[in-house]
């Protein structure tokens, strides 16, 4: 990494790392009587460690100017590895919390190992660690290929990738220490939130600067989705995390909003974290890698326009379906329900567009597990969005809400859609990113595919069953008009499903480990002698008259 930078760029990087170290030191001093101090030391270690690495490498020879004629893929390569590592961490934490629900004594009397602290490690680990790194890595790759331009500079992509991972580390380590805002999927405290805003502004700037240098007049569909992901997540993140810290020496803060306004803001955020983090960004992936792998153009350009603007407009109304029958005013619940149902149209337009793109390439889906991952992802996307619209109907929600059905729904999306499209996309670019002729083993991709599919099916069926049983038991009356079951009766009935769910999660985790192994072995394969990627370069500006 350091050898890729010019001397001047190395100095810039050292200034940034030095500044980060100073911020870390300030946090460590201000928060010396608080858990904030521990995070200060982590930030200081990150800044100082990077600074020392640069000190040792600063006299390495400068890179040749030829690099500017190639795409800048080093950040994508590291991003792919980080994606897989966070995947194993996040899914491993998921298996652990799933096991805790079957065998609660696995906490071992250690506060950090209790369900409430590990659960956000699982959710943030997979959403932000696994999903976020996948989005950053693939967005850099797709952005360059679809604009036929190199990223605008050499430092900012590293700043975004590494800075984002620092955020993830602070988030996950904070949960284990008990630092959380309690807002689901927005748990990190105020200082981590501010840092993420800084990283995000640079990320957005990379996008705009690269687009400004593009050699293609049109901005490709995949980039619309990545841009919607970056922009809307920024809006959601800033509004939902508005808070007043107890002091600058304290990690704790109090949300600006309370009660019903806070609940609505939180689920406006929460549902659109699903929409713009876990859907829009991954649709960007799908719109590039699926047609590319299938060797077919996108079925319908107009359908992609309709679905893009439909999703961007309507998702933002749907959050209130998380608050049916609560103290949220009825009119907001009704609006949320109505938009959630109509949302099925753009969602299925996207899923259908992807599947129709595969027409004429179904034999490839049969033979190529990488493409099959992406095809299955599109199918699960269709299933999950249908289920989501269905569950947003008030009467259905009265049964499903607060139960495991919601968990099943989320995992149909997270495992079936998000993880499948990610694995398919990563498998399809790993060989070219490391200039290898192919993956280490196509058979292991096949093994991973079936582990992932069977794990998802076991998981989702277990949760559908437990959720519906739970919901029905809570509302069943005896003939004399009293409630039939105590709460604990419903909990006891869940036990076999909780074991089945942990087993499904185990299968999925094994699949992720197979993927990590396959990618590592691909990287370790000897590089071929011939260069076969002559076409995978940016378009050079034509010489202007007078130059």
């Amino acid at each position: 990494m350091i050898a890729d930078l010019t001397r001047a760029e190395r100095q810039w990087a050292m200034m940034i790392l030095g500044a980060l170290g100073i911020v870390g030191l300030a946090m460590a001093v201000a928060g010396r009587n608080d858990l904030l101090g521990i995070h200060g030391w982590i930030v200081l270690a990150a800044g100082l460690g990077g600074f020392i690495a640069f000190m040792r490498g600063k006299d390495a020879p400068e890179p040749s100017d030829d690099r500017l004629n190639e795409y800048y893929d080093a950040p994508t390569r590291l991003g792919i590895i980080l994606t897989l590592l966070w995947g194993v961490v996040g899914m491993g934490a998921g298996l652990w919390v799933a096991s805790l629900l079957a065998w609660p004594e696995l906490t071992f009397d250690a506060a950090w190992a209790s369900f409430g602290r590990l659960r956000p490690v699982h959710t943030s680990g997979v959403i932000f660690g696994f999903g976020g790194n996948a989005l950053i890595a693939t967005s850099f790759h797709v952005l360059q290929r679809t604009t036929r331009a190199r990223l605008p500079d050499q430092i900012s992509p590293w700043f975004v990738l590494l800075g984002y991972n620092l955020f993830c580390v602070i988030a996950a380590s904070g949960y284990l220490m008990g630092l959380t805002q309690s807002k689901e999927y927005a748990e990190p405290e105020w200082y981590a939130d501010i840092w993420l805003v800084v990283v995000w502004v640079v990320y957005f700037a990379i996008y705009m600067r690269t687009l400004a240098r593009r050699k293609e007049p049109h901005i490709y569909v995949a980039n619309w989705y990545y841009m919607a992901f970056i922009l809307v997540v920024a809006i959601l993140h800033i509004v939902n995390n508005l808070a007043v810290p107890v002091s600058f020496g304290s990690a704790k803060s109090y949300s600006l909003f309370s009660g019903v306004q806070d609940a609505m803001t939180q689920w406006w955020y929460g549902h659109n974290a699903v929409a713009f983090f876990l859907t829009a960004g991954f649709l960007g992936m799908m719109y590039y890698y699926l047609p590319k792998r299938a060797g077919r153009p996108i079925f319908s350009y107009r359908m992609s326009i309709i679905s893009f603007w439909g999703i961007t407009f309507m998702y933002m109304w749907a959050g209130s379906h998380h608050l049916h029958y609560t103290a949220l005013p009825h009119w907001v619940q009704t609006l949320g329900m109505a938009f959630s149902v109509v949302l099925l149209v753009p969602s299925w337009a996207s899923a259908g567009n992807a599947l129709l793109t595969l027409n004429g390439a179904w034999h490839k889906v049969r033979d190529d597990a990488v493409l099959r991952f992406m095809a299955l992802a599109a199918i699960f996307y269709g299933i999950t969005t249908f289920e989501g619209s269905f569950m947003a109907i008030r009467a259905v929600n009265s049964l499903s809400h607060y139960t495991d059905w919601t968990i099943g729904h989320v995992h149909a999306g997270a495992l079936g859609w998000v993880a499948m499209i990610t694995f398919g996309s990563l498998y399809s670019i790993v060989p070219s990113m490391w200039k290898r002729p192919s993956l280490y083993s196509a058979k292991l991709v096949e093994v991973h595919f079936w582990l992932a599919l069977s794990g998802t099916v076991v998981y989702v069926f277990a949760m559908w069953n437990s959720g519906v049983i739970q919901g029905l038991m809570w509302r069943t009356y005896t003939e004399s008009g009293t409630l039939s079951y105590s709460f604990i009766d419903s909990l006891v009935a869940m036990h076999p499903y909780y074991i089945a769910r942990a087993f499904g999660g185990l299968l999925f985790l094994l699949g992720a480990l197979v993927a990590l192994y396959n990618v590592v072995m691909t990287i370790r394969m000897p590089a071929p002698a011939t260069e076969d990627a002559a076409l995978d370069i940016p378009v050079q500006p034509a010489l202007q008259a007078g130059e």
Binding site: P104, D109, V244, W317, Y402
Partner: protein, 243 residues
């Protein structure tokens, strides 16, 4: 329409502008009015604020992630009202920054838990849930009895809460640490101050059964015992019937 799009997708600034505009509408229409329409939150003149000990307990509830398995929002459904008590009103969480309505019931709803069980039951249950509920899946929170409660910064916590809209008085902020001690140590001078500043309805008890020192257990039990008891608004007869 597609002709217009043909132009938009050739301009990065154009795309950015349209995405931000189109995505902002939903939130503006659904969220902004909740701050301005008066009927959104009911009137409850008897609404109390959390005491410093209850604030500390609430923070422990958040720290341990209790909200991941317990909701604090009884829906307007007949079976919920019969199981948990009157459905929750918006005003009841109006001092909750942030709200802890929750999204999942691995364990039961806690919105009306206050004074349903004894302090001793809670202490035993939190120490090891399976001692009192053999089938329970809840973790054992033994460290709550071990760890002393931090009180020195409670004044800052109350000021921060005041900054976001909870009506704490200067006197309450100034005496926060003392009041936390007093609430768990009845028959001391400090305890009288708590009743004076937070009202006679405040629970002043040795929550964890031990008077010598304040533990995280004292704070968490104090918080659990006030759930649903900040106001009587939900128990008034003029509420519409559950569905």
């Amino acid at each position: 329409m597609f002709g217009l799009h043909y132009k938009i997708e050739r301009s990065a600034i154009g795309l950015v502008t349209f995405i931000v505009l189109v995505a902002s509408i939903g939130g503006l229409i659904e969220i902004a009015p909740l701050f301005t329409i008066d009927e959104t939150v009911e009137q409850a003149p008897d609404m109390r604020v959390y005491t410093p000990l209850e604030v500390a307990g609430r923070n422990i509830y958040i720290r341990e992630g209790c909200y991941a398995c317990h909701s604090q929002m009884i829906r307007t459904l007949r079976d919920e009202v019969e199981r948990y008590g009157p459905y929750s009103l918006a005003v009841e969480s109006s001092y909750d920054h942030p709200q802890l309505w929750g999204s999942k019931r691995t364990g039961p709803d806690l919105a009306r838990l206050g004074n349903k069980y004894s302090d001793a039951w809670h202490t035993v249950h939190l120490f090891n849930p399976r001692d009192v509920v053999p089938e329970s899946k809840m973790p054992a929170y033994r460290w709550l009895l071990r760890d002393p409660l931090r009180t020195d910064d409670l004044g800052n916590h109350l000021s921060a809460l005041r900054a976001v809209g909870v009506p704490y008085t200067d006197e309450q902020v100034a005496n926060a640490a003392l009041d936390a001690y007093g609430q768990a140590n009845p028959e001391t001078a400090a305890a009288d101050g708590v009743a004076e500043r937070y009202g006679s309805a405040t629970n002043i008890r040795m929550f964890d059964g031990v008077s010598t020192r304040l533990t995280d257990m004292d704070a968490l039990v104090a918080y659990l015992q006030v759930l649903g008891n900040l106001t009587d608004a939900a128990h008034q007869p003029n509420q519409p019937e559950a569905e």
